[in-house]
Amino acid sequence: MSADLALMSLVPVAKGIADRRFSSREVTQACLDRIARWQPHLNAFMAIEADEALALADLADAALAKGEAGGALHGVPLAHKDMYYETGRVVTCGSRIRRDFVATTTSTALHRLKQAGAIRLGTLQMAEFAYGPTGHNAHYGPVRNPWNLDRITGGSSSGSGAAVAARLTFAALGSDTGGSIRMPAHFCGVTGLKTTVGRISRAGAMPLSQSLDTIGPLARTAQDCAVLLGLMAGPDAADLTTIAGPIPDYAAATNQPIDGLCIGVPASFYVDDLDAEVARGLDETIAVLKREGARIVAVELPDQRQLSAACQLVLAVEAASFHKRWLIERPQDYGPQVLMRLQNGLAIPGVTYLEAMRWRGQALSAHLAATVGVDAVIAPVAPVAAPTIAESDVGNGPDAEAVIQRLTRFTRPINYLGLPSLAIPAGFTRGGLPLGMQLIGRSFDEATLLRIGAAFQRSTDYHDRVPSSV
């Protein structure tokens, strides 16, 4: 029985524990069993805390036995990208520099999930300092894709994508500054939500770019993401960029039909130079959404290349600023590609950076004007399925920028605009690699994206498919 428990998705497993149909210990053990089998092949976990997780599971079970009401995630084991601070815990941020860093605060997002009853399984691998789109890590090795161990997971939330896909954890926090949730979701065949800038507090999460960083979940379904978002969203005195106001009922949104919603299909850029199988996946996704009752319209978006360029300029400067002290004192402790990309920020004059920041509002206005009446825009997450680890291991060589650009071209414009985007599993290549599509929404309208994603998942089974056992 316990092996099957790990294959469930988050919402039913939380309900099963709450209803005492099975125990938190059984669920946690099922995850640990899978972790023991998969970890040597995937390298998805940074740390596995088996004994502690089982002890916490026993406490959760004991509380339920005493009739003590738990939160929405009572006794559910989770693991997250190793960049969320938890007091007294080592948080490596995927780096050598922070290999022994012990946090003195707990991130708000993590705290809110813990308050809801979630149990910690350990921590997940990631790109060094969340600055890499492939899943390579010069210090800890690449994370491997559970659908094909020779392929990348995407990054920077590489361990999160692999662990959710292989059913090692029911969900995982990632972070998305240039595509770092959506790309692992696409390459690994899971659901990933990049939230609007300001929706979830970033307090206690490792920063990369204060203007672009967002926090969000990777999980098996849109419904799971909705529950997690509902628990984490909302204002936080420790992060004044979070917005006040009522939090929508995201879980309820996933039960609504999508009849009458309008979904835009970009006339250019996101449909240009696609791998044939990605193009087919996009067409099939649109057909499903149409069958579900959505109205499909063509949209002409403003120049996305300019948005992508502005995103690069902002990200490069802000990342270099965070890292400046270590760039001076410990450059030898960075991996070659991360060092090169951090050094990029040194080449950008202050006026150029501020121009890129000043243009942001105008660019968002132009996007909103181009999508009036459109509830979401559908686009591929990337123009290709997962490349091999070997071919994308470009370090700081002459091909590095071209590889990074190709992978992130469809995600970066959305980060610049600060918009939410939901990546959903939307098919497989003939070779068995997952394909993901992103639904790009309006500012703070994650609910509509989750509604569309859930409707799509009621009509398809891509999100239910599990990689063959190792």
Partner: protein
């Protein structure tokens, strides 16, 4: 707006207090150069009164508008 030369990058980096070798400066120029080119149509064209906080205003206005409908 043109992409920065390795020579200019070396000078900027030194001003910042982070040394970059000639080889590193060349690598940086190749790496970030395309972003300068991509942004060149926007650079130098922005209205005088535009400031970074405009983004938050546009975001909030969009949210408020949707709440009303």
């Amino acid at each position: 707006m043109t992409r920065p030369t390795p020579k200019a990058i070396k000078a900027i980096a030194e001003t910042t207090g982070v040394a970059a070798s000639a080889e590193e400066a060349t690598r940086i120029a190749n790496s970030i150069g395309p972003a300068f080119e991509g942004f060149s149509a926007v650079a130098g064209t922005l209205p005088f009164d535009l400031e970074p906080a405009t983004f938050l205003i546009v975001q909030a206005a969009e949210k408020a508008e949707r709440a009303e409908t």
